[in-house]
Symmetry: C2
Subunit: 346 residues, 2 copies
DNA sequence: GATATTATTGCAAGCGCTTGCAGTTTGAAG
DNA sequence: CTTCAAACTGCAAGCGCTTGCAATAATATC
């Protein structure tokens, strides 16, 4: 009954409306809202009342323009379809939200060109900081970043020599570690199914890691055992099909995502090839499903949530207290499961 | 060599800077940027030159404030961890991006309370429209929406009587359709593993659908066969364990997401129960992996991409041309696969 | 040639909110 | 009773960009 709005209809209430209703100046309302301690308690209460009476909602753009910053950070990722990115985004959003920051999203589909565009669009939109994936940004993007002066943190790949602060794992070590495990198990011909390594430095480094492990024992990755696909299940399965149909068959296949590994396993199953036993298959990322499939999948867990937390933390420290942001190396973890179990004697 | 910035350092270039450099007024620059046809070609070229010379990037907040709208829409979802939401978000982002709109994200974790908060935060942030999930918004949220007057479209559930325009499937029909298939196959004791139905109207309606199918043949869902879990793999697996450990075992289990179904299957496998044969398991959503697991999973596909497209389309039509937004029913699709194959005679 | 159009551009008034600075009030100290 | 600091508030000046309106220049109509 006390709810009928004063104004005729549309126009949302402004600071001024609240001020008028509360019988104070706009400045006071503004302060009451952002620095309550500066305002007399009685006044503040009257203002609070007016605010809810009018259903007043501060106008973000006006605030941003008047110098408070936009309170938003942009996150540019290849695609939400890959679980790790979704987890990263969700974690960052949750953490920043607590501090009143929102997040704006951009997808690249793995295209560096689009990465630039998306980042730029987000900057234009006014983000106070940017999160990018990996450490292989185009020079153009790097230039934009320094020109505009937005703080940036990159995710998922730790690289000492990165131009930007980064939080991630040592992908080369991760690749090597997985390969060594395979070698230990007796699988010596290792193939790789990966996303395009040109636009994906994480994959590139993992390949290097595998190659490095092979080199230790005097071998190398055969060119025909390195297959790129778009990262989704169908194309990964095709890739496995190609591997299986080749002259020589690999004894082990490492896929740079669990999704691809599961697809590869499906192809083996379809062709009646035992996993493990005839072929070992390993994944990457350690998504929640990897231990629910048959056989449970060996994988290198990439702690997306931890990375997201560390990034959010850094961003906030910088945004709130202007603290310098530094890089952080987080540990990957080898999840040993059946898919790379013992080799069956042939 | 011709790249040294005029200004000493920081302050990003403004419209005024460009105007000065190009020897015109700010208004002209503004027009050259947003309505090129209104500006003389020669002038426009000079402006373009000045823009790139200065690396000028328009200030989003100022634009928004000056009346162009924020060019952003907010999307509030339970969690990106569920593939369908990630797909929805990605699709919407991609489509809106083409039109120069960005998207702001909010996660609720399935909590209606947080849904309100997140929606409000997004409104405050200035989104021009909102996308919500399902049709069970709190009255409070509905009020906020009408108060502020933001256009809203809800996703994933089609409901004629919804207060808001919605784009989605008929969840009750989807549930019924899956149950009927199970019944056809001879599985007559159907259990359900679901996310909490209180905060999730889609699940509630699916339950209704299953119940309705059962009622057709004079049966009902036994209370102990309706189990809620948080929707993630581990808890779904536990739920399956509970089902298996009960007095009476169900003959079929429908899970309201493929992820849960895969987890449930894992539990059966661990207990040496044949799927199908002893127990049939079906999922929901039709994620890319569902036909790669063993056994391939029967599922009801919810076309997230199509829904996202339709929503983006509607939003844009409204945002650009003020067209009214209406609801749309999209078809679900029963994907018949082995996990609900023939019942084995006991 | 004179007048009506049309094409370009500049002016100035904000959009809604934050903030430095200054005025007012009040209580304490001298 | 003054004097002064502390506690509140209000004033006014923007933040960077868009836009209706007016002014000027260029082109077209009689």
């Amino acid at each position: 009954m006390a709810d009928e709005p004063i104004s005729e209809k549309k126009r949302p209430a402004t600071l001024g409306d609240v001020a008028r209703l509360a019988g104070v100046s706009a400045s006071t309302v503004s302060r009451a809202l952002s620095r309550p301690d500066l305002v007399n308690e009685a006044t503040r209460e009257r203002i609070t009342w007016a605010v809810s009476r009018l259903g007043y909602i501060p106008h973000g753009a006006a605030r941003a323009l008047a110098g408070r910053g936009h309170r938003a950070v942009g996150v540019v990722i290849p695609s939400l379809r890959f679980g790790v990115f979704a987890e990263l985004v969700e974690t960052i959003q949750a953490r920043l939200d607590e501090a009143g920051f929102g997040i704006l999203l951009g997808h690249t589909g793995g295209d560096p060109e689009r990465e630039y565009e998306q980042a730029r669009a987000l900057v234009e939109r006014g983000v106070d900081a940017l999160v990018l994936i990996g450490n292989a940004q185009q020079p153009r993007l790097l230039r934009l970043i320094t020109d505009v002066g937005v703080p940036v943190v990159t995710a998922f790949d730790y690289d000492e020599s990165s131009a930007l602060p980064c939080v991630g794992v040592d992908n080369e070590a991760a690749g090597r570690c997985l390969a060594e495990h395979l070698l230990d198990q007796g699988y010596d011909e290792i193939a790789i199914i990966t996303q395009p390594t040109l636009s994906n430095d994480r994959s590139g480094k993992r390949v290097d890691g595998v190659a490095s492990a092979l080199r230790q024992i005097g071998r190398a990755v055969r060119p025909e055992f390195l297959i790129e696909c778009d990262g989704l299940a169908p194309s990964a399965r095709d890739a496995m099909g190609a591997l299986l149909g080749g002259e020589k068959r690999p004894r082990a296949v490492v896929c740079f995502s669990d999704l691809m590994a599961i697809a590869a396993t499906a192809e083996c199953r379809a062709q009646g090839i035992a996993v493990p036993g005839e072929i070992a298959i390993a994944g990457f990322s350690g998504i929640g499903l990897s231990d629910m499939v048959d056989p449970p999948l060996t994988s290198v867990r990439i702690p997306a949530v931890e990375i997201g937390d560390l990034i959010a933390e850094r961003l906030l420290a910088h945004l709130m207290d202007r603290a310098a942001v530094g890089s952080a190396l987080v540990a990957h973890e080898l999840l040993l499961r059946e898919s790379t179990g013992a080799l069956r004697e042939l």
